[in-house]
């Protein structure tokens, strides 16, 4: 069965690591530079059983939350806002190419914990057999 988190890491890195946007499971690593312009954190919110065959669970339905963090001054210019939207679109398209679905699309979560970063959240689903 696929390790969903490793799959998410591969998917995000395939499109974003060369743009300098790094992805972390659970939390951003403290050994990386403290002040990146943008980064991603993903967490798994569930991995429930969906289909059974011969009393055995054959398909899981995983739920992954992707949080895209970007510096809050990025939205002060039209170019910055366009870049944020482009990143969100890139994350969405890449994950859909890797078999994830995002029924509700991306949504803004604002400034979390007054950290200096705005957050965009994408709630993704994946069926894993």
């Amino acid at each position: 069965m696929t390790d969903v988190r490793a799959y998410v890491q591969k998917a995000l890195d395939s499109a974003l690591s060369r743009e300098g946007v790094l992805s972390y499971w659970q939390e951003k690593s403290k050994t990386e530079p403290d002040d990146p312009g943008e980064y991603i954190v993903y967490t798994q919110e569930g991995d429930s059983g969906k289909f059974y065959a011969n009393n055995t669970l054959t398909v899981y339905s995983a739920r992954i939350i992707i949080r895209y963090y970007y510096k809050k001054d990025r939205i002060d210019t039209p170019g910055g806002r366009a870049l944020v939207k482009e990143r969100e679109r890139l994350i969405l398209n890449t994950m859909e190419m890797f078999g994830f679905s995002c029924p509700d699309g991306a949504y803004d979560a604002g400034l979390i914990d007054n950290s200096g970063y705005y957050v965009t959240i994408l709630d993704m689903n994946y069926e894993n057999g």
Partner: protein
């Protein structure tokens, strides 16, 4: 003139990380580049100070005094460091600290460049008990 007797060998490891696309973040403890084993004066804690330290949850601590080295000073001030007493080779393996090894200590408090003379460094350490 400060008198001290540096007879205890220690190694200092700092936590460093790298990112591998497709795999993610990877971090571990690495020795400081260009800094092999250093000798220091190791003064263990006892008496009233040890009792206050114990009240703060610190079971084993020591004060280290060594020669000033800019790389060591900068590493201790800016990075997460592990101090390996007696340069114990069994304390660290594959970049991971063995939390059961009694020779691993971590920085406790600040680092003092004594009198700002760039001659001696002094800092306190406490036993590393894992995270």
């Amino acid at each position: 003139m400060i008198r001290f007797n540096p007879t205890t060998p220690v190694m200092i490891y700092v936590k460093a990380g790298g990112y591998l696309p497709g795999v993610g973040h990877n971090s571990g403890y690495m020795p400081i580049e260009g800094v092999p084993i250093i000798f220091c004066e190791w003064r263990g804690g006892f008496g009233a100070q040890a009792i206050s330290a114990h009240a703060a949850g610190v079971n084993d601590y020591a004060t280290i005094r060594t020669f000033y080295h800019p790389t060591i000073c900068e590493a201790l001030r800016t990075k997460q460091a592990a101090i390996i007493k007696n340069a114990d080779p069994a304390a660290i393996s594959g970049g991971e600290l063995d939390s059961k090894n009694p020779n691993i200590y971590e920085l406790w408090g600040g680092v003092d460049n004594i009198a700002e003379e760039n001659r001696f460094l002094e800092f306190k350490v406490r036993r590393y008990e894992g995270k």
